[in-house]
């Protein structure tokens, strides 16, 4: 290359290579950078040769890992040099040193365009390569037509067209609008006729990107793809140089098959036949050979073919052939191949009905569970988990349990969870299920999450036949030495509830049971102590007639824990003690727990979530998700005897006597001089619920749950707070059959302060928003995510913009396919300052249910603000220049939410007001500057000064100045709103307020966080 001619460069490189250590190298580099800076500074004396040389040096230094933050201008300017060597340096260095975010790359667009439309092929190639590497949105807008022209021109050499295709791919990724969907499908189909394989491979990359976004538009290309496959795999009609280890262009084959997977089906019978013939050939013709490279290539093709076969729902015969092939793979010694075999089998399982065939390999898979390679073990576990059904559940779970004691620690948790899920899903009888879970806890207690034992308790509670068995089992386990704490919890709970059912058996008298449980008390942690206390109370209650000795013992324990450090335990001890002295009333208060409402298992949900998290947006995955969720729905319909509706959740069986008891009790406490109205009975029940149900109660609107729990507060008054929280939720009509599961007002206020998040969510749909703001323009993207497995119909979204905003919503599709997410961009332009809010009128139909909501869109005043910081002198100049109303307004605001100055500064920062510290000498004052953008005012400086009174935080004086009277007024009102209500905390407080009232014993009610966290997680999964 031209390098040989540059002595300076080669001397520099050899200097660097001769450096003994890093330090010397750094010194040499710094010296050279200094030299380059000096040379670049006297621009006049720089010949093109020198410039080229120094830019090469810069690149070399950059490649060594040093920061090169100057001289980019020189590199870019070399692009316009007339000679090849200089131009080449320019292009190469620019594409290495810069990226699309550099503003001044824009200056190069014209030069690049000239090179692209010029006649010189090498220049075209250089330009296309650079754009293909660092081209951004602006490049896309200005260059796409020219690049397209190059791609379809017949006069260009394949070399150029190859690069043009890849360049267009980059531009398309940066800005999908550059490729016009309608016009391009015909061209694409022509391009796919290309004979030159190089061009075809590049075009296929482009095609995959295009088709993944707009499958419908490219139907006409489908036969072409099949033709290409035929040409490659059957006819092998290609040049020698495009074969790799005898395989005709594996890359193109893989890409073509990937593209085919984006089409839902292949309908045309002849095409389908041809395609299957090709696939058959690939499946048959692949084997494991010695050469690693050949293996890699042929397996890449094979696995893509398998994916395609799965996608196309091929005939059973072909499927079994695939499975047979995979079965061969998992028996191979080579770990990579075995891994792939297992993984693909798992995928296959999710999509098609081949379980029976796969079951033949069960032994082999179980062997893989003992493989030295952990990733293979994991795959095997996944596969076993996937292939499990009622017929082989017993074997597989048994196998997993056995394996658990020897398994890797890294895997145990997953293993335990999966075993628990399988046991639950496919339990032939419930006693087996209880056995399995108890074994699980016994063997791997540390790895069993709370959800698992909660679930057991649920089952036992809901199935009366099971109760004695479970109690007996629990009793058995308690005899074992060195019991895991989880086992103590579950045994204590079950024995507390049902030990009376064992009364006649040997060594199961309440006393004995109490003794054996009490043995564990000193060694367990606080949450377990709490459960043990409940158990004692229950044992006491079940011991009829009362046994004074036992009573004494238990009371002693309660007494002891009355002054325990943990408040929760303290309260339990006090309350149980008081309750247990009531005699007969105790029976009612501490009655057996009611049946749990039937709900989806938290475990299954957990597993499902994990799957969604890792899901790619590929066609196969999408389908597989549907499949699994269907499976879950089916398995969840377990026969139950009389389940309770959700909103009675957690009510203790509370006969009328109880009311008397509680009122009596209330009177008692009042006599004692306390004003507390907390009813021990209800708190206790809420509390046990907290233990057991809280983490499970993910379904159902949290607000409803909260209000239901609130009803249990003595007096059973309906609390207006909870209702209020709900009423806030919808702006428009209340006649909706669908209730939102997020607090809409809160979401709106949160989104006013940030740019992305969930705007609305109900059981069927989730609407997320992502916004970008630039001066007075804004671009919001609405993400409409269908959460269900059936489509949402007649989706309609209408924007009702206020007068000061110009809004354009792109077309919203009529239906949203199942489990899919649709993006609707919304362009916003701000005309002038106003506090009015745009409203989105959104409606859809799910089955027969019609839902419609009016949602406020977070395109509010502060989104058009841009914080700036002014130096003091300039600030005061402006401040003085804007004097008196209407440009400068002052107001004393009272009833402000008290907050410290840093808090207020934070609030201002989130409102895009740039707080400038130390501008005002008084430390109690806050000064902020910001720029407001709108079409009428353009950029307008706004100055804000807040004077607070340190002795009275609820009032302050605010002064606002700007060059526009409306803006001043609106901004003042806007800030005032935030100062007075502080929406960021209000809804949270409203939501949080009922929670402590409902469950006073449980500081963090798990229900609320679960409800609120969930949408976030969902959105994250969907995005």
């Amino acid at each position: 290359m031209a390098l040989s001619g540059m002595r300076g460069l080669s001397v520099f490189i050899s200097d660097i290579r001769n450096c003994q250590n890093k330090e010397q190298e750094r010194l040499r580099v710094d010296k050279e950078l200094g030299n380059i800076r000096t040379r670049f500074k006297n621009e006049k004396g720089l010949t093109p040769y020198e410039k080229k040389k120094y830019v090469w040096k810069m690149l070399y230094i950059y490649m060594l890992g040093y920061d090169v933050d100057f001289g980019h201008m020189e590199a870019v300017s070399l692009i316009s040099a007339p000679k090849y060597p200089e131009k080449q340096v320019g292009y190469i260095v620019t594409s290495c040193l810069l990226n699309e975010n550099y503003d001044f790359l824009r200056m190069a667009i014209n030069t690049v365009r000239n090179d692209i439309i010029g006649r010189n092929e090498t220049f075209q190639c250089l330009a296309l390569t650079m754009v293909g590497n660092i081209g951004g949105k602006e490049f896309a807008e200005s260059l796409a037509p020219d690049v397209q022209k190059l791609l379809i021109s017949s006069s260009c050499r394949p070399l150029v067209r190859k690069k043009a295709a890849l360049c267009l791919l980059r531009l398309y990724r940066k800005n999908p609008d550059v490729v016009n969907v309608d016009g391009w499908s015909d061209r694409m189909s022509q391009l796919l006729d290309e004979r030159d394989l190089g061009v075809l491979t590049s075009v296929m990359s482009l095609f995959v990107a295009l088709v993944s976004n707009h499958t419908e538009a490219y139907w006409n290309c489908l036969p072409k793809c099949v033709k290409i496959l035929e040409r490659l795999a059957r006819n092998q009609d290609i040049l020698q140089e495009y074969t790799y280890y005898g395989i005709p262009s594996p890359w193109l084959q893989v890409k073509t098959m990937r593209a085919l997977q984006y089409f839902p089906t292949v309908e045309d019978p002849s095409t389908r036949r041809a395609l299957f013939e090709v696939l058959q050939r690939i499946l048959m013709g692949t084997d494991v050979v010695k050469n690693v490279n050949k293996n890699n290539a042929s397996h890449a093709v094979l696995f893509e073919a398998l994916a395609l076969v799965m996608h196309l729902d091929a005939e059973k015969e072909m499927m079994s052939q695939c499975v047979a092939l995979l079965g061969k793979f998992i028996a191979v010694r080579e770990p990579n191949i075995r891994y792939l075999g297992l993984e693909n089998m798992t995928r296959m399982l999710l999509v098609t009905d081949v379980q029976d065939i796969i079951k033949r390999h069960q032994a082999q898979i179980i062997t893989s569970l003992k493989d030295p390679d952990i990733s293979i073990r994991r795959r095997a576990l996944d596969l076993l988990y996937g292939m499990c059904d009622v017929t082989n559940a017993k074997d597989i779970v048994e196998e997993l349990l056995q394996y658990l004691s020897t398994a890797d620690f890294a895997m145990r948790e997953e293993l335990a969870l999966k075993a628990a899920i399988l046991a639950e899903k496919f339990a032939p009888d419930l006693s087996w299920y209880v056995d399995v879970i108890l074994q699980l806890i016994d063997k791997a207690g540390d790895f069993v999450s709370d959800d698992i034992w909660y679930r057991v308790v649920q089952f036992v509670t809901n199935n009366e036949d099971l109760q004695p068995y479970a109690a007996a089992k629990a009793r058995e386990y308690l005899d074992k030495p060195a019991l895991h704490e989880t086992m103590v919890k579950v045994s204590a709970y079950i024995l507390g509830e049902y030990s009376h059912l064992l009364a006649r058996r040997p060594s199961c008298s309440p006393k004995e049971i109490f003794a054996i449980i009490n043995e564990k008390l000193p060694t367990v942690s606080m949450p377990t102590v709490a459960i043990l206390l409940s158990t004692y109370a229950k044992i006491l209650m079940h011991t009829q007639p009362p046994d004074p000795e036992l009573q004494e013992q238990i009371w002693a324990i309660f007494k002891k824990y009355e002054s325990y450090i943990d408040v929760e335990i303290q309260q339990r001890a006090v309350e149980y003690f008081a309750l247990s002295r009531k005699g007969a009333a105790l029976m009612d208060v501490l009655a057996e727990m009611p049946k749990f409402p039937e709900r989806q298992s938290a475990l299954l949900k957990k597993a499902e979530d994990a799957e969604v998290d890792t899901a790619e947006q590929s066609a196969i995955k999408l389908r597989s998700q549907q499949q699994t969720s269907n499976a879950l729905v089916v398995t969840d319909q377990r026969p139950v005897n009389g389940s309770l509706p959700v909103n009675q959740l957690g009510l203790v069986r509370m006969p009328s006597q109880n009311m008397e008891a509680s009122s009596h009790d209330q009177g008692l406490t009042k006599e004692n001089g306390t004003v507390s109205t907390v009813d021990p009975a209800s708190t206790q029940s809420a509390d046990i619920l907290g233990d057991l149900l809280g983490p499970l109660a993910i379904e159902g609107p949290p607000a409803a749950a909260v209000s239901a729990e609130q009803n249990m507060v003595p007096g059973l008054e309906a609390t207006p707070d909870a209702a209020g929280a709900l009423a806030l939720a919808t702006v428009g009509d209340q006649s909706n059959s669908v209730q939102p599961i997020v607090n809409i007002a809160e979401r709106f206020h949160a989104l006013c302060l940030k740019d992305s998040g969930v705007l609305y969510e109900d059981p069927y749909i989730q609407i997320g928003i992502k916004a970008e703001w630039r001066a007075h323009h804004g671009r919001l993207v609405l993400f409409l995510g269908n959460k269900n497995t059936s489509p949402l119909m007649s989706v309609r979204a209408l924007i009702l913009p206020p007068t000061h905003l110009k809004m354009e919503l792109s077309l919203v599709p009529e239906t949203i396919p199942p489990r899919a997410q649709v993006q609707c961009p919304l362009e916003v332009m701000n005309l002038r300052a106003s506090r009015d809010v745009a409203v989105l009128d959104f409606s859809y139909k799910f089955g027969t249910a019609m839902a419609s909501v009016k949602l406020r869109l977070p395109a509010v005043l502060n989104k058009f603000l841009q914080p700036i910081s002014l130096p003091a002198e300039e600030f005061f100049l402006q401040w003085k220049a804007l004097s008196g109303p209407p440009l400068k307004l002052q107001e004393v605001v009272r009833g402000v939410k008290p907050m410290s100055l840093p808090e207020m500064a934070n609030l201002f920062a989130s409102l895009h007001l740039g707080v400038t510290p130390a501008l005002d000498t008084n430390p109690n004052n806050l000064v902020a500057c910001t720029t407001f953008y709108s079409e009428s005012t353009r950029a307008m400086l706004c100055l804000i000064r807040v004077e607070t009174d340190p002795s009275d935080r609820t009032q302050l004086r605010i002064t606002i100045a700007s060059g526009d009277p409306t803006l001043t007024f609106e901004l003042k009102e806007f800030i005032k709103e935030y100062l007075i209500m502080m929406p960021a905390s209000t809804p949270a407080a409203a939501a949080a307020a009922p929670a402590p009232a409902a469950a006073p014993l449980q500081p963090q009610s798990p229900i609320t966080p679960a409800g609120y966290n969930d949408p976030g997680a969902m959105l994250a999964g969907l995005l």
Binding site: Q20, N21, E23, R26, L27, R28, D30, K31, E32, L33, G34, N35, R37, T38, F40, K41, N42, D67, D69, F70, G71, H72, Y102
Partner: protein
């Protein structure tokens, strides 16, 4: 005494092991790989001299182009370990004739092994005194027992030496000319604000001696330090002489100094080892005479230009002069070029250290010199961070000047035979970290 080392390694800058010695078997031989991987090849190097990796502590220090790494696995005495390394380096230097670097190590493998065996036993430091070790670890050829010529010198009795009362001096030394050289070497550390107020200032000094004296002489040194003078006037019951007295902080003496006499009479009396040694070290924080004043003005003119003006004044006696004065004025990293005007010396821009370096070979007292430079900066793509303005650094040496004002009042030599001695006294002040903020 606690263990100081389980193993010691000498590595070059690339991380290759030059030489190593395992003293205890509680660390594996490959532990040094961990050092190379986790310290040398990362940016950790130079941040902290003690690192813990995989249950072992690595104590390391760099001497010229060699890393000396001590590996310990127990709870070692770190200060002892570092002192050991310093002393060992001093020992090697005295054996190799002053230089200690990679080449010196490569040329003296056998000797180093011999010394390493001697100076530490099972992780416990032993005698590191060059004078003693040179008695029995010699670099001379081995005399064959069958050699006809009997040895001229009697074989020195090392055991007696080490266990004797004056372990640091050999008996029976004879010099034709009895001479004592005494150097007071001080280095000034200064941090000055841009407005000229002193933020931090101290002097660390040491008194180096070189003795070529016969027999077992007893020496007595008198300085113009405060305690000594007061004590003297007390003893002689006459008022202290008016004049400058110096308050010395943190004085440490060589082991030869008789501490009981120092405590009772406040005089430094000692039987010196033969040859070169460091008699005492001290520190002074009050009443420091600064040899130079620096007045910088640095103006940033827009984004691409800077003006630097530095005036340096020498404030020591007019008859004295400073040597090797170097003023380093930091400039931003994006400096492209600089043009200078200097009244004396020579200035240039050094890109590797991002400084304008102004060198003056000889700087007479009570004079001043100025440098004015115009610096051009190049515009960069990186976000413009305000320049941090690191301090100006200065290097110099001023012979016959002490920043503390310390003077030798007398140096008396007493020996049984009562020979005459010649005493030479020198003073020199160097720059430690002499920094002026700008």
């Amino acid at each position: 005494m606690p263990v100081a080392a389980s193993a010691i390694y000498f590595l070059n800058l690339r991380g290759d092991v030059l030489i190593n010695r395992l003293y205890r078997d509680d660390v594996g031989g490959n532990m040094v790989d961990a050092f190379r991987m986790h310290i040398m090849q990362t940016k950790e190097l130079g941040t902290c001299p003690v690192r813990q990796i995989g249950g072992c502590s690595f104590l390391y220090m760099r001497i010229s182009n060699v890393y000396i790494v001590i590996v310990v696995s127990s709870n070692a005495n770190v200060a002892c370990a570092f002192k050991f390394v310093c002393e060992a380096v001093a020992l090697f230097k005295s054996y190799f004739g002053g230089a200690f670097d990679e080449d010196a190590i490569r040329n003296n493998f056998v000797l180093i092994y011999e010394l390493l065996d001697e100076i530490m036993d099972f992780g416990y430091p032993q005698n590191l005194s060059p004078e003693i070790l040179k008695l029995y670890i010699t670099q001379e050829g081995v005399r064959s027992p069958f050699s006809s010529k009997p040895s001229e010198k009697p074989v020195p009795n090392a055991t007696l030496q080490v266990t004797g009362a004056v372990g640091w001096r050999r008996e029976g030394l004879v010099y034709k000319k009895n001479e004592v050289f005494l150097d007071i070497v001080e280095s000034v550390n200064l941090l000055m604000s841009s407005k000229g107020s002193v933020l931090r200032c101290d002097v660390t000094g040491k008194i180096l001696m070189k003795c070529f004296l016969s027999g077992m002489p007893d020496l007595k040194l008198g300085l113009n330090d405060k305690i000594g003078l007061e004590k003297e006037s007390q003893l002689k019951s006459r008022p202290a002489k008016s004049g400058k007295t110096i308050e010395l902080d943190d004085v440490t003496f060589h082991q030869c100094v008789n501490l009981t006499r120092f405590n009772s009479e406040k005089t430094v009396s000692f039987v010196p080892p033969d040859g070169e040694f460091e008699l005492m070290k001290y520190r002074i924080t009050e009443g420091v005479n600064l040899p130079f004043r620096v007045l910088p003005t640095i103006k940033e003119l827009g984004r691409t230009r800077m003006e630097v003006n530095v005036k340096v004044k020498s404030v020591f006696g007019a008859k004295m002069f400073a040597l090797g004065v170097v003023v380093k004025v930091p400039v931003p990293k994006q400096t492209a070029k600089a043009s200078f005007q200097v009244t004396s010396g020579r200035a240039k821009y050094n890109a590797s250290i991002d400084c304008l370096v102004w060198k003056i070979r000889k700087f007479p007292g009570q004079t001043e010199a100025t440098m004015s430079a115009e610096v051009e900066l190049i515009s960069t793509m990186a976000e413009k961070k305000p320049w941090t303005r690191p301090p100006i650094q200065m290097e110099f040496q001023v012979p016959m000047f002490t920043a503390s004002g310390l003077r030798v009042r007398f140096l008396k030599v007493w020996e049984k035979s009562g020979y005459n001695t010649v005493e030479w006294v020198r003073y020199i002040t160097k720059a430690g970290s002499y920094e002026i903020r700008c």
